[in-house]
Amino acid sequence: MREEIIVSGRMNELIDPHLQVWNWEIPAYLFLGGLAAGILFFAGLMTLQGKEKEFETTIKRAPLFTPLMLGIGLLFLFLDLKHKLYFWQLYTTIKLESPMSWGAWTLLIIMPVSVAWAGMYIKTIFSNFKWPYPNIAEAFEWISKQKTILAWIMVITSVILGIYTGILLSAFNARPLWNTSILGPLFLTSGLSTGAAFIMILSKDEHERHALARIDLLLIAIELFLIIHMFMGFRASTQVQIEAANMFLGGTYTAIFWTFVVVLGLVLPAALEIMSLKKLKVPYYIAPALVLMGGLILRFIMVYAGQMSRWLY
């Protein structure tokens, strides 16, 4: 038997009895980042494939929300900072070894890109919309001529942003649950899936919804594979990672994870999507709403559980 106690007393706020220095702001930020990345990815991809007619909502309508999502995400990141007045220090250096750093820079790049894209289509969606100054209208005129370049930038930066939301966590070897390279691809896939789900809720065109449902089915399958793969990796790893996995295989997070993330967030929406593709009558917004909920809960669980997992010594 081994018992380890701090006899001098230590009750450092947010650290003891176990780390809880990141609260709701970080998972919410990761969720919004992934969601915006997913939407922008599909908008860029479908544009490059020349499918503007079939994917109207994907390309024109859904991206209108992304500047807002990214803005709120950045606001959440800001709320999480404890030395807020020094926020600008983030943009005085680029440190490639620090995901927090290059992620912040990626957001700085993708934000104007999303604004440019949204501005380009705002008139197509709201026909009465008028820019207050003619110069702005001209600028967006010019941007729409560079659409292909912009679409390429969007596809690339959105993948970086999506992966970043996972790497931000997986870079910490001090927290065994996060310390797996699966987290990058997992969060990217989940981000793309939530993006597709968001577009499906907005879209009024059944053909577009079905096409997205097919893509989403593939993404859900990949996610399930990655989740199983992640736990297999943990179980075959060191004691600290075995214990991290055990939080989900019998421990504190078992019920909430398997119920809300896996069953309600992945398996059930997949089943509903298959049903609607088979022309069975299911309200079309249920499956995507479940996907969005599952993605949000996945990030909350990973951020909170990860902070509870630790090295033993």
Binding site: E3, I6, V7, S8, G9, N12, D80, N173, Q307
Partner: protein, 177 residues
Amino acid sequence: MRYAMAIDTKKCVGCSDCVVACQAENNVPIGFCRDWVVEVTDGTYPELELENRSERCNHCENSPCVRCCPTGASHYAEGGIVLVTEDKCIGCSACITSCPYDARYVHPKGYVDKCTFCVQRLKNGLKPACVSVCPTKCMYFGDLEDPNSDVSKVLKTRKHKTLIPEAGTKPHLYFLI
């Protein structure tokens, strides 16, 4: 130069003087501490083994906290001491999350704080407060590259270990066992 500390787990009685000395010397805000004493009991009664350890930041050579800091606030100073520049720190807490020893905390003023090996005392030729105050003289401090420093000498003669070296941090807090 490479500063390091060695702590004799056989001599430490767990009195926590080092903790109080640090709090006083470094104006550590009430309710927080930069160092702490751990008591580890191993075995089943009556075959018990006890180890006392005064722990703090390990001033790692491959510090995850320096690596993940987005602004460069966490950095290596002279002698490999890991320090935080207060007005560069944005309080993102990445470094706290990255430290496998939980050696850092958020100062009530918003920046991140931790053991500094008492750089202000080292500049004046003094030892860190915890080392100076220890009533059993169980702590040794000095330059590892100088074969005649207290720490080099004691590490040469005594068996020692570091904490979770498998985390890849290359810690520089040695425990004599």
